[in-house]
């Protein structure tokens, strides 16, 4: 036992001696260049870091992605004709209230909604925490987390409706419609994740989570293009 600890001490000392201590400055500089061109993920499903996905998970991801893209396309057409998406509270069509609104006014109104929403999002996040798809998480704790996640979806859905209900400048109509077309499929996928977690299918849930990324990118692109603050 003591001999083992002596070796550990020896290795520990050696590792400290071997450690470079300081990173080359170019690491931060190069990373900054890439980050400048990288958008943050939006939507709330990703509760853990990206995972390596097995063949089964990859197949699930591919299937879900196809469904999501098809769904987004269908909802896009539906939105264009009716102004609303399925499973969402009907809201005024932005086009009908957009007269005379400037980008600056829209940005201010949207940012105010998003800023006000962050504290509630943080509170929901704290209730969900980590370990949702960790098999070691006790069933009762997982059920509590899932309930909080369901609350978060409701919260996010309401938030999306508020944003979609804002008067927007005419120049933004097309891009806003693209963003809006991704909202319902994204929430549907998160609800699918909840169902998979409830069934103990954690790798499939992770795969669905990964498949949300393209939908998330649409929201990121919209925010980035018009210099809007990230919304929870």
């Amino acid at each position: 036992m003591n001999a083992g600890r002596d070796v550990e001490r020896l290795i520990s000392t050696w590792l400290v001696e071997e450690s470079p201590g300081r990173a080359p400055d170019r690491i931060l500089a190069n990373a900054a260049g890439t980050i400048d061109r990288t958008r943050q993920r939006r939507f709330l499903a990703a509760w853990r870091e990206p995972v390596s996905i097995g063949l089964r998970g990859f197949a699930a991801m591919a299937a879900v992605l196809i469904l999501a893209v098809a769904g987004a396309a269908w909802i896009g057409r539906s939105t264009a004709s009716s102004g609303t998406a399925p499973n969402q509270t009907p809201t005024p069509s932005p086009a009908s209230t957009a007269a005379g609104v400037t980008l600056a006014e829209y940005r201010t109104a949207r940012d105010a909604i998003c800023d006000a929403a962050w504290p509630q999002r943080q509170s929901l996040d704290a209730r969900i925490g980590d370990g949702l798809t960790d098999p070691a998480t006790p069933a009762a704790e997982r059920a509590t987390k899932l309930a909080a996640l369901a609350d978060e979806i409701t919260f996010e859905r309401n938030l999306a409706n508020q944003l979609h209900g804002l008067a927007i400048p005419a120049a933004l109509h097309t891009d806003e419609a693209v963003w809006w077309s991704t909202v319902a499929p994204a929430f549907a996928m998160i609800e699918q994740e909840i169902a998979l977690i409830q069934q103990g299918k954690f790798s499939e849930a992770d795969a669905v989570d990964q498949a949300i990324t393209p939908l998330s990118s649409a929201a990121e692109a919209y925010e980035s293009k018009y210099d809007l603050k990230p919304c929870p």
Partner: protein
Amino acid sequence: MTNVELVDRARRGDRQAFDALVAGMVDRLYSIARLILRDADRAEDATQETLVRCWRDLPSLREPSRFDAWIHRLLIRAVHDEFRAQRRHSANIRVLHAEPSQPDESGSVALREELQLGFARLTFEHRSVLVLRLYLGLSIDETAATIGIPAGTAKSRLHYATEAMRLALEANARPPVREVSA
């Protein structure tokens, strides 16, 4: 501003907060990567990749207070990717070379070289456990969570790796060291 506040701002897209956050930890991340990979260029790549993934996925971190553990997980994943790439691109059999050691007052050059050679023979999994536990000072549970393995497995890997290092230290004279890659 505390780290938790910086994390919270960064996950809302505040780039200045993100830059301040990672500036305070890039040295540690690079050191971990360098120790595990034993390759400066690949360690740079792994660290850079970790920072980019961190920015991209930060909104998914639900507990800002657990940022350190989260970014260590990202780093180990990036280091693993680099390690696998390293093995793919290297010859099946290669002669390992120890980095030249500087003589010190206790004359422990031989000891350091034995440690280097012993460490170089370890698998990625064993190196990771040693570095997280004995360099970073994480507990067994934290080490296990960072790598994503059960605590029992982490403990067993630590035991195996330490034992392998002990055997390397006991072997005073060696022929040229060769490693057979899978």
